[in-house]
């Protein structure tokens, strides 16, 4: 046992020392070279992993907003301040998200923009809440995020409820579907969207013939599609991502089953069309917000974005940009970067962003949750109309 003790001790010492070898990230000096007070704004999103491009897009949005803010030489409560982004990578994984959230807390950010998807946003929000740090997600749409009753949790994009019900309305009123089959991909996103769609359809008098499921590891959907074929429905609604929606449509064609296909923003992408090939013709899809060219400041922003990063906007960039500006605007109104001071102002902010006017309801959801509908016409997404715009 004595030797074991030695092992123990030795082993823990090794550990401790191994920490010292590891690089540590204590990046918060209080003032910059010109003696301006540094205020840290956190950004969290998947900077690596399957959807890294979307994460980068958000990061760019934040960076752009910060740049402009710094050019204005804002001074809060007497001292000139300069904003600095602390960007962390949650890999889009729940298992990592709390770790990076903690990193942001450690580097004493006064506000957080992020995370990108609901799966990461929800667990992280608890940590920010515990530290009293306000958080605005540019793109997390799951309803639970704002249902937790955290005063500091906001989002600038319509949530799944708004999108789901908009889709249901579109299915019933515009496609005039009566018998509908629903497929979801058993992710938080897919389930959330599909549940709300199902409820709304039923409340509108539509019939859900069946609810089928797949999961993100699958690429063969023939079994469920065949089952749906047997029920001769007049619309299939799929809540999931493009990489499966595409192949699904092909298999739909192979089975000789041609019905209307409606889907959410997960499939409203170019990849979807590429993967579905000619089968994508006529597919309907929704996407939160409005297309860039329909945004109040869309064109101008697009120009600016492409000049700064010489790459084009993916999806959520503008929303991240607006989220950041909203946060800064609240600070200016409160004349303080201290969360407890500016949070009240953030709660009832009225901000004109490039994506539209931004103001939050009691929960922290955006008031004007607009949803746009698109349809594939000869391998292009064509804008149809914007719903839920009230």
């Amino acid at each position: 046992m004595k030797t074991n003790c030695k092992n123990n001790l030795f082993f823990f010492l090794c550990l401790v020392s191994s920490f010292f070898i590891a690089s540590c990230d204590s990046n918060n000096s209080q003032f910059d070279s010109e003696g301006r007070k540094i205020v840290y704004i956190g950004h969290a999103g998947p900077l690596t992993g399957p959807i890294a491009h979307l994460g980068k897009d958000n990061e760019n949005g934040v960076k752009l907003a910060i740049q402009e803010a710094n050019d204005k030489n804002i001074s809060l409560d007497g001292e000139t301040i300069v904003f600095k982004v602390v960007s962390v990578d949650d890999e889009g994984k729940e298992s990592k998200t709390t770790l990076v959230a903690q990193k942001l807390v450690d580097s004493e950010v006064s506000g957080v923009i992020g995370h990108l998807n609901s799966g990461t946003t929800i667990p992280a929000s608890k940590i920010y809440h515990d530290e009293g740090i306000p958080q605005i997600s540019p793109s997390a749409t799951n309803v639970n995020y704002t249902n937790q009753g955290f005063p500091g949790a906001f989002r600038v994009m319509a949530n799944d409820k708004q999108q789901g019900s908009a889709l249901a309305n579109f299915a019933i009123n515009d496609i005039n579907a009566s018998k509908i089959a629903v497929i979801d991909d058993r992710t938080a996103y897919g389930k959330g969207l599909a549940d709300i769609f199902e409820d709304t359809v039923q409340s509108l008098g539509g019939i859900i013939s069946t609810r089928e499921f797949t999961d993100v590891t699958k690429s063969d959907f023939t079994a469920i599609l065949t089952k749906i074929k047997g029920l001769n429905v007049d619309l299939i609604f799929y809540a999931g991502m493009d990489v499966q929606g595409g192949p699904m449509l092909k298999q739909l064609d192979n089975l000789g089953l041609n019905v209307n296909f409606l889907t959410g923003d997960g499939c409203q992408t170019l990849q979807f069309i590429e993967l579905a090939g000619k089968s994508s013709q006529g597919v309907y899809a929704s996407s939160p917000g409005v297309p860039l060219d329909k945004m109040p400041g869309g064109i101008a922003f697009n120009l600016k974005y492409e000049q700064t990063f010489n790459q084009s906007i993916q999806i959520y960039g503008p929303y991240a940009y607006d989220a950041t500006n909203t946060l800064i605007d609240a600070m200016i109104k409160a004349n303080s970067y201290l969360p407890e001071k500016y949070l009240p102002f953030l709660k009832n902010i009225q901000f004109k962003g490039v994506t539209g006017d931004i103001s939050f309801d009691a929960k922290g959801d955006i008031n004007r949750g607009s949803i746009s509908m698109y349809q594939v016409k000869n391998s292009k997404w064509e804008y149809l109309k914007t719903l839920g715009d009230n």
Binding site: D220, A223, I224, K229, P247, L275
Partner: protein, 308 residues
Amino acid sequence: MDIFFQQIINGLVIGSVYALVALGYTMVYGILGIINFAHGEVVMIGAMIALSIILFLFQFDIPIYLSLALVFFGAIIFCSLLAFCIEKVAYKPLRNAPRLAPLITAIGVSILLQNIAMLIWGRQYYSFPQIFNNDTYQIFGIANITTIQIIIILISLVTMFFLFYFINKTQYGMAMRATSEDKNAAKLMGIEINNVISITFIVGASLAAVAGILIAANYGIAHYSMGFMLGLKAFTAAVLGGIGNIVGAVIGGLLLGLIESLGAGYIEKLTFGFMGSNYQDVIAFLVLVLVLVIKPNGLVGEKSSTKV
């Protein structure tokens, strides 16, 4: 009614896919008694290589059949080399190591291959070009099937018979069986067991390459992570049929495919709406457990009597 036949067809197609991959698992297991976890990734590599070759060939206008040949040839060669190296590097040194050691290296290789593939081809899903003119046929007007699906079913059956012949009738086959029975004895009989093992891996990898191409062509999609789940299912199929047994692998594969498609189609009726297609895999695994509880060596696996 017509749905039932369609489901059978679906089951046979995906089952044949499993069977093709399962053959690779079962051969390696038969010889070395290890689960070659990396096999699924070899399938993926096969598909990705094929994709690259196709995209490359698109630049010149070569007759489709020539380019097809090139695609298959290239993928098979590459995968064979890959598998050959994997065996030499990761498994050969561990012939006499604790049983878990080769399993762990196999997992390591699989992780490695997947991430290297990700670095080479990136994370995006590629739409796999149409290499066959893929039209849909109607079988007695009650079920649809596409060209590729027919090819898949045929190839998997053909390969099974080929392998069965290869292993039971040819010199190498005999050597293989001898090696799987007792390596040392085989050595004493003058069999170069290293060659035998290498050949096993190469044959397995060639099948994997073919499987990879067919799968990618069938679903019209290829990406770096397509191999893992497929590998697992195929391995399940191999065990279901009785791992180490060629015929078993195919039977297991087809059975698993049918279970999945019929399960997804009818489970809701069977469970009075409590379970839906989301429990597809549960049925598959439950059947596996059931089979193994009743026949611990799989459906057609020969009984291994404990030598005392």
